[in-house]
Assembly symmetry: C2
Homo-oligomer: 127 residues x 2
């Protein structure tokens, strides 16, 4: 979706949590602390840029940030807009599902995924 020399950002295809982006390191790095201080700063600048777009366009109940990598030990950050009506809230998206929202999540968001992607790309390109 968005690429630079060091980082790329994709939107995760998750029907339950449509506003779910991933900031991925292009070179192989296992842990956040394996980055240099300047690279860490750049990484979190991109994470913050995605977060700001989600807050601004969707007014979520909360943003969830996580770098886990237990399955794929390659540094990537999850940036997820959470809503008090979503299927897992207040559990993490990796926790127990609590409900099936009707109408489904995608229909409840204030903007379309195309508009959201465009806003994220715009924010990343200027940060």
């Amino acid at each position: 979706m968005w690429n630079s020399a060091d980082w790329r950002v994709i939107r995760v295809d998750d029907a339950a949590h449509p506003a779910f982006y991933r900031v991925v390191c292009n070179r192989h790095v296992r842990e956040f602390s394996d980055l240099s201080p300047a690279q860490r700063q750049r990484c979190m600048q991109l994470v913050s840029a995605v977060e700001c777009v989600l807050v601004d366009r969707l007014a979520p109940t909360k943003i969830n940030l996580a770098a886990l990598g237990n399955m794929v030990p390659h540094l990537h950050w999850h940036v997820i807009a959470r809503f008090d009506w979503d299927s897992h809230f207040p559990n993490p998206v990796w926790g127990a599902k609590l409900r099936e929202p009707v109408p489904p999540a995608l229909q409840r968001l204030a903007v379309s995924m195309d508009e959201l992607d465009a806003a994220v790309i715009d924010a990343l390109s200027t940060c």
Copy 2:
């Protein structure tokens, strides 16, 4: 456990995941992007410092970092050393429990909690 003007660090009391620290913002901030760039940098410097101690002293399978705040919408970072033998691995600690390690987690770590806390405090105090 460790305090500064802007941030504090505590160890979470979790028998299944003993090497679990939390970096907490002292003033009320909801989202990571609500911090100024300098504050974000300081925050992640502290998170990295804790992470480095866990990597260095425990050689974990993976570090998990997360700022969720769905329950308590006040900025705090989870820094968790994960092991391939732990009760939930490779699931997040908020996911399904997969096993009951024998001997239990605390007995498997390379250092005592007192030594680990002391190393974390030392790292935070010099960063």
